[in-house]
């Protein structure tokens, strides 16, 4: 299963980025192969409008089944994520990616 984290860096030690639409990076953790990948989302800075749905669309292309983030997506992005059936967990904005993963496993993150 592919789990995607909004992050300020590219590996499991990176700090989480609490923002969804304008997150700097995605850290992509594949639970089956235990491999870590990342996606550079910084081009979103150039988008004045609609960063949320655009980033949500990117998440779909990456094949994410679970999204772990901080503040949670806004209305438009949430509509896209719901359409894709992505599971969304929030409240991990102050953690590192590894801590966020552990919290997810422990069931202590809030589901939206």
């Amino acid at each position: 299963m592919k789990i995607v984290f909004t992050a300020k860096g590219t590996d499991m030690d990176a700090a989480m980025d609490p923002r969804f639409g304008r997150t700097e990076y995605f850290v992509i953790f594949d639970e089956d192969s235990k491999s870590v990948d990342s996606f550079d989302n910084r081009a979103i800075e150039g988008e004045a409008h609609g960063a949320g749905p655009k980033t949500a669309q990117k998440l779909g292309e990456l094949g994410a089944e679970v999204l772990i983030t901080g503040n949670g997506p806004g209305g438009n992005a949430a509509t896209v994520l719901k359409t894709m059936g992505t599971e969304v967990l929030v409240g991990a904005g102050d953690m590192t990616v590894t801590e966020a993963y552990d919290a997810y496993k422990a069931g202590s993150l809030k589901k939206v």
Binding site: H49, G50, A51, K54, N76, T79, V80
Partner: protein, 291 residues
């Protein structure tokens, strides 16, 4: 003759000036006051007039029709606002992000995105003697102020002749709604206050109107607080200071009761008269040019 009252910084006195100036001018000639701060119009709090007309305002947004769509993704490629996205086998439209430019609809090879009406706000027209007051308000959840501002100005243009003095109470800031509210103006009055914040945002507003090549002047409100940096800046940049309005507790008290200021406060009356004369002067120059 169109006069836009703008500011850069919010809360400097745009509405105070707009309502008092328009009401004063209407004592001697026909005047239109239009509140273009459609996200939070408040000129109406100070204007006592009779409602004579009301209409819904619509914007056009695309609606996806699945049957003919070949999922080419052209709509998504031409949208500058991410308002149309191709998600797998479907096209999603986000009405709040849509700027109503028609690009996706017009460029769709299978006509699968026809434009449909969506209510965005309401326009109301009031009248009291020579004073005509036009106010538009966005409905809750609507994000795009520009289309409603554009339609409100069009309503004013359609209903009142060139010779009528039109005062446009603009939104604060220097972003798209302000550009839309001021772009057709013959003159912009920038209301500021003599504080570092006031000066900072005044500079942004000055750069904006300069870029649009609209003649402008400054009114300093709450004169007496802060420092003289706004005056020095205007002097250095050769910007006309049309008048000043003093900082006065009585002004705040009267304002907070929803009352006009100039009928009871002489310093405001003086300021309003000098702005009105300044406008008449520009107007006669303008008429001279056209003749």
């Amino acid at each position: 003759m169109k006069i836009a009252i703008a500011s850069g910084k919010g809360g400097t006195g745009k509405t105070t000036l707009s309502t008092n100036l328009a009401s004063y001018i209407a004592e001697s000639r026909i005047c239109v006051l239009s509140d273009l701060d459609v996200e939070e119009p408040n000129s109406g709090l100070f204007i006592k007039a009779e409602l004579i007309h009301k209409e819904d305002k619509f914007k056009m947004i695309p609606e996806w029709e699945k049957s003919k769509c070949e999922l080419c993704g052209n709509c998504q490629a031409v949208c500058n606002f991410n308002a149309v996205l191709k998600m797998g086998k479907m096209i999603m439209v986000f009405p709040e992000l849509c700027h109503g430019c028609y690009a996706c609809s017009e460029l769709c090879p299978t006509d699968s995105l026809p434009m449909k009406q969506k209510k965005m706000g309401e326009l109301k027209s009031y009248k009291n003697g020579n004073l005509n007051f036009i106010e538009s308000k966005l409905i809750i959840g609507e994000e795009q102020a520009v289309p409603l501002i554009k339609q409100t100005i069009a309503y004013v243009d359609d209903n009142f002749g060139e010779d009528v003095i039109k005062i446009f109470d603009s939104p604060p800031g220097t972003s798209c709604p302000v550009i839309e509210a001021t772009r057709d103006a013959d003159f912009v009055i920038l209301v500021t206050e003599p504080t570092p914040f006031g000066l900072h945002d005044l500079k942004l507003a000055v750069e904006t109107v300069k870029q649009m090549r609209i003649p402008f002047g400054v009114v300093i409100n709450r004169h007496g607080i802060g420092n003289d940096s706004v005056e020095l800046y205007c002097k250095e940049e050769n910007i006309a200071i049309i008048t000043t309005i003093p900082n006065d507790r009585l002004i705040a008290e009267t304002y907070s009761q929803g009352k006009l200021l100039y009928p009871t406060i002489p310093s405001v009356k003086e300021a309003v008269i000098s702005i009105s004369e300044y406008i008449e002067n520009i107007n006669s120059q303008k008429e001279g040019e056209t003749k």
